[in-house]
Amino acid sequence: MREFRVTITLLLALALHIDAEAQEIVVKDAAQQSVSSYVASNYAAIVSQTPTQEAKHSLEQAQIPSLRYKNTLSVGYGLLFGAVYIPLFDMYTKEYNDIAYNTSLSSQLADSRYYWSTERAFTGITIEYSHRIKSWFAIGAKGVVSFKTRAKRHISTNELLYRDNTLLAAALLNMRFDWFCRKTVTMYTSLGIGLMTHTDYYETYVLPMYDAAWVGITVGRRLYGYAEFGGGIGGLFRVGMGYRF
């Protein structure tokens, strides 16, 4: 009976020390009595180890991978190359076609003699590194490469005249804003600005470029998959994988 009284007293004291969200200790049955005895004898230690609000928050954060790990490395692929949709200047969409624009007999015949084969492209191949400096904000770097190729061939013999390759490579500084973080799901918005080089059959030039993920979602923990809806050189829709460390 004495022990019971002591236990009750100690528990009341403990309840005064921990806040309303602290773990509740139930002392009703015999099993709990033995626990209570242990608590009573180790009161000081238990009080020091009981999580505070801040500590509990930290604990939760530790369980969310996107908050636990500061660094992220991801690779992905974008569809529908977005640079052509930028209503900025004609420089992004200018196209050369000397044969079509020239009216000499040689050019007219060449226009009839040759055709463009299937145009293939690998657009928005992206590698990104980001470093979290706030729970909701990360900065990093992003590299995006797009490549397309087509061939001018003879209409009858299919003989290759020349191959028209276009390579776009961009380096961007990227900012990422995480606005929904859970254990396996993170949603974010990111924006990157930088430079892009355009290399084709005729020339190479450098242009300003951006890449934005208006809405992005990651699913997974350390190793995760992601999908984004965005604009810019990365493409309109992107998917990929990443690793947090």
Binding site: G76, Y77, L79, N102, S104, L105, S106, S107, Q108, L109, A110, S112, R113, Y115, W116, S117, T118, E119, R120, A121, F122, T123, K148, R150, R153, H154, I155, S156, T157, N158, L161, K183, T184, V219, G220, R221, L223, Y224, G225, Y226, A227, F237, V239, G240, M241
Partner: protein, 268 residues
């Protein structure tokens, strides 16, 4: 939950691979018919032939003018058959002026040696219009040899070596004169528009004589045409055949054939 996230990650990876493979094709190539190429080359040759036909017709009609002794008939002939505004003679050289729809004059000059080409004289015919030319006509065997050393402008030029014969039919009721010309030989066109050092050439060999009727145009002839474009290092070999009965031309290129109307594209 962990197992679920693994599945999601795997699904994302597979979806990425699938979309990547689909996205590889931006646009399908379109391998169009070579008919436009053949038609373009044939039209160029046809243009030369039509022009040559008109020149020969005018020269033959001019030569025939000397058969008309009556001054009034000759004036009427000049007006209706030659469509000339005036003819001036200076020694052995005749200057024929034509007026076009823009009321501008062009001058055809025929230098003779004092006689008629139909009687063995050598004629040199030139024209200073937009489509200039320089041709010589001399008697050769039972017919005539016609050499065009210049046809057209300074950017493209055609030369031709032809063996020609002709027939004239004059109708007494209306004094109209019908010209029937037949010739064979070869033409060589060179176009420097795209490249001076690597021009485009079209060599035409007449494999069956061209038949030209003053009223109906070309009614026969077969052609072996080789178009060589040094700029593109390409050679196009085309065969064209004008069917005498149908008046249609059949063009053949790499085993493919098309048939269409023969158009006389030059009107002086």
């Amino acid at each position: 939950m962990r197992a679920l996230s693994r599945y999601i990650v795997r699904f994302a990876a597979i979806a990425a691979i699938v979309t990547a493979s689909v996205a590889c094709t931006l646009s399908e190539g379109y391998r169009h018919s070579p008919v436009s190429l053949c038609r373009r080359i044939w039209n160029d040759v046809n243009y030369d032939l039509s022009y040559i036909n008109i020149i020969l017709k005018k020269v033959i009609l001019f030569d025939h003018m000397f058969d008309i002794e009556d001054e009034a008939e000759r004036e009427a002939y000049i007006d209706t058959m030659l469509h000339a505004a005036s003819i001036e003679q200076s020694g052995d050289t005749y200057t024929i002026r034509y007026i076009n729809e823009y009321n501008t004059y062009h001058t055809q000059v025929i230098k003779t040696s004092g006689g008629r080409f139909s009687q063995g004289d050598k004629w040199e015919v030139s024209y200073d219009g937009g489509l200039g030319y320089l041709a010589t006509i001399t008697a050769s065997g039972s017919g005539y040899k016609v050499t065009f050393s210049r046809l057209y402008d300074d950017k493209s030029n055609t030369t031709a070596e032809l063996e020609m014969s002709y027939e004239l039919t004059t109708y007494s009721e209306n004094s109209d004169t019908l010209v029937d010309i037949e010739y064979s030989g070869h033409l060589a066109m060179t176009d420097y528009t795209e490249s001076i050092s690597r021009p485009l050439t079209i060599a035409t060999t007449i494999t069956r004589p061209v038949k030209y009727n003053g009223n109906y145009g070309m009614t026969g002839g077969a052609f072996d045409i080789v178009c060589r474009d040094a700029l593109y290092n390409s050679t196009d070999h085309i065969k064209a055949d004008i069917n005498s009965s149908t008046g249609l031309v059949t063009i053949e290129y790499y085993g493919s054939r098309w048939t269409e109307d023969v158009k006389n594209r030059v009107n002086l």
